[in-house]
Symmetry: C2
Subunit: 461 residues, 2 copies
């Protein structure tokens, strides 16, 4: 579809600004029209815009605002909810070229970065200075801080260290009309005015475009040790998670893999999983001198629930145990297409979620592995299907919706860390209620009165 | 001033609702017209309204909205920025009767409370179940959770555990027009829609009225040990704070008292402060088995900066050392009226703040003690004055403004934890800039289109 006239005018203005700012090569544009979510449709973009400075971002939004052209901000497009998918006639606004780490301040434990900085690049840079940036989404080797902020990304170590939002102290934001504002602060605390920083974090590019992030850092964690435990069934694994946490456990990682996840890994690689194990739980403590004691406490709880526990005694053994968790993604990819759910429930309902997902898998005759951040009650039931088989695709969609409904029925949320995007926009009202949704729409209208910022994402158009 | 006609109509409607909901006794009303901030004017309220249920809060706001009557929400009125002060003709909406702890869920480490629950009541109730609610403002024995949420209150242990906002997972809110909505979630994580919970936290009753709070709890902390250290001057004390934190210290308390604070305490009680000490730093670690080691590390850093360190070896000794910090408030009260600043600066600028406050004290010939949460860079310079001496009052006001300007010049904020209220509303634009302030006004207009909610607080009318 050719860009509509108003997009053409905006593009002409932007093309004149700087050589290379606007890319219209159809192959390049097309390669940027989707993120990593299946099931979500994408439109055909008018162009890809690659600003290097906040002034260029502001110019793009001024032009888009003036001419009524939709803008879809993008990071590394590793998102799992279609939040970065193109809309017909839009400008794809890639922030990947704004990828400088502006400063790492060791005295105040603060970093200032541009949105295109890759999570792993920042994490390694601060580690070299003895600091720690905890948020570690699975995509951390490729996803950007801007994308992490846009989705309020989580990860494995959230159970101890929290999600991206908890590290964002301040933002520079380009508003829908091109105005540049700062929110928040660089200090440890601050309550001057409404907390707009948190409003933009997790807003998936629908309220403004992040052009700079001030991040809190932590001291480096202590040495970490890992334990793995195998259980006869999901119920005993979930009971272990709940009891260990309720007993005051502070693991830096507490992951659960169900039987089907283990089967999928078994087909990929022999990691020595015992026959007949119905679920496994991985636990890590990074409390240095206290880690061994934490593992012993975990072992006690797990053994009490019929678990067989293997304790790592050093970093190499810990890495081996963690390989099982990392293998789930790779092993699943080999089976076909898949779509990852992101249900988060109260920890006490974890067993109902895992058992419920097994039932949904059987009922719909579709493979659903269930692995995730058990300590937070945040699981990623993953529906595997053959995209060439329309009937399988249909059943996968039905199962996916049933998992969302299950999460809500258990007092949980449709998305713990992936975001709403396109994928779950129609489920949002079910979770928030009519008045809650209306409040969200009020906020959207206030910050983006002409509706050019990533329309249809989070809130349906 | 008699209530204007529209307030009278609203009051008649509310009086008919329930006996005791509306209080018009002039003495009772007058006793509720101020919070704990000096310098802030208060108006004359039309009535005090004391709802017991969310339905009654909703009825109050519906009536106020219909008749255009301003509403000033109140907790225990321990606030230090005039946020709860009456406006002429307003309804004072006290939430103190909504004081039930609805539930404490040990498996999920979550409590659900009404806004009138006193912080200390909740803290003790969860401690009895082996859990921990960290936010500990100085007012914790009397201030309410609703007030803590409205101001995003901090406290001594923020340096390790963060502020109130970090514990608020979800809210029930009555909007300006009386609609009741829920924000957030009860799960550990969740990104379904814009984060409106954080928008209401710290909004000082200007965007909605909190009627229920879902709070995250932590496992009980480990045993705590305390150290106190005396330094020749503020510079060596501040350098100790910075170096200890930059070295990976994770104190559960890291407080600084300057020379004038120590002098004020000396006049009140002999706590054995050494002669000639120019500043003191209190440090606590609650890492149980690691606490003694943490204290030893702190001692090493402090000694390196010329500090004399006293280490507590048990809980009783720790409590004795902490008495100095607790005595500052009482000792200051004995000297006359005082107004507490709430500057928060990057930790590296702590010394410039403390030394700058000393200079402002000298320049204006007014006593300003400087005590506070040094680990967070959040200090409470406290200006002492005789309210009967207009010239002293004037000089105190000038000094107060100079401290705010100093905080901003040092890259800090005018308020780390007390809030803007009336006291600092005119300084907010200086901190946020014109576009930043306009964005705040946009949010206010969206959520409170007729401007009945605590008008003039946070944002000037």
């Amino acid at each position: 579809m050719p860009p509509p006239g108003n997009a053409a005018t905006a593009l002409a203005e932007l093309t004149a600004l700087r050589n290379g700012l606007v890319v219209t090569d159809p192959d390049v544009v097309a390669s940027h029209e989707r993120d990593s979510a299946p099931f979500c449709p994408n439109g055909s973009a008018a162009a890809l815009v690659r600003p290097s400075t906040v002034e260029e971002v502001s110019a793009v939004l001024r032009a888009a605002h003036r001419h009524g052209v939709p803008v879809v901000p993008q990071g590394a497009r590793t998102g799992l909810a279609g939040g970065a998918n193109a809309i017909d006639g839009c400008l794809l606004l890639s922030l990947e070229r704004m990828n400088r780490i502006r400063s790492i301040d060791t005295t105040n434990a603060v970093a200032v970065v541009e949105p295109g900085v890759v999570n792993a690049v920042l994490s390694r840079a601060v580690a070299e200075k003895g600091l720690f940036y905890p948020p570690d989404p699975s995509s951390w080797e490729s996803s950007t801080i801007g994308g992490n902020v846009a989705t309020n990304a989580g990860g494995l170590c959230c159970v101890k260290y929290g999600v991206t939002a908890e590290y964002v102290r301040g933002l520079q934001i380009v508003l829908a009309d091109g105005r540049v504002v700062r929110t928040g602060r660089s200090t440890a605390k601050g309550v001057a005015g409404y907390d707009l920083t948190r409003l933009f974090v997790g807003s998936e590019g629908t309220l403004g475009v992040v052009t700079e992030v001030t991040l809190a850092l932590r001291p480096a964690a202590g040495g970490a040790l890992t334990a793995v435990s195998f259980f006869p069934d999901a119920a005993s694994a979930c009971a272990t998670v709940c009891d260990y946490m309720a007993g005051g456990g502070q693991p830096s990682l507490l992951e659960l893999m169900d039987r089907l996840s283990m089967d999928v890994v078994r087909r990929y690689k022999d990691l020595g999983f015992p026959d007949g194990a119905g679920a496994m739980v991985l636990m890590q403590s990074d409390r240095g001198a206290l880690a061994a004691q934490d593992l012993a406490e975990f072992e006690k709880v797990a053994t009490g629930h019929g678990g067989d526990v293997v304790l790592a005694e050093n970093a190499a053994e810990s890495a081996m145990l963690l390989e099982a968790r990392r293998s789930v993604g790779v092993a699943t990819e080999l089976l076909g297409s898949f779509i990852s759910e992101d249900a988060c429930v109260p920890r006490s309902a974890l067993v109902d979620l895992v058992v419920g997902v097994e039932r949904i898998s059987r009922d719909n005759d579709v493979l659903i592995t269930c692995t995730g951040h058990a300590g937070d009650g945040n699981m990623h039931p993953t529906v595997v299907f053959d995209p060439a088989d329309p009937e399988q695709v249909r059943r996968a969609g039905v199962a996916f919706d049933q998992v969302m409904k299950l999460a809500l029925d258990l007092g949980g949320t449709i998305t713990g860390e992936h975001g709403v995007g396109l994928l779950k926009a129609e489920w949002l009202e079910t979770e928030l209620g009519a008045d809650g949704l209306e409040l969200q729409r009020d906020i959207k209208r206030t910050l983006d009165p002409t509706g050019i910022l990533n329309p249809g994402k989070v809130l349906r158009s």
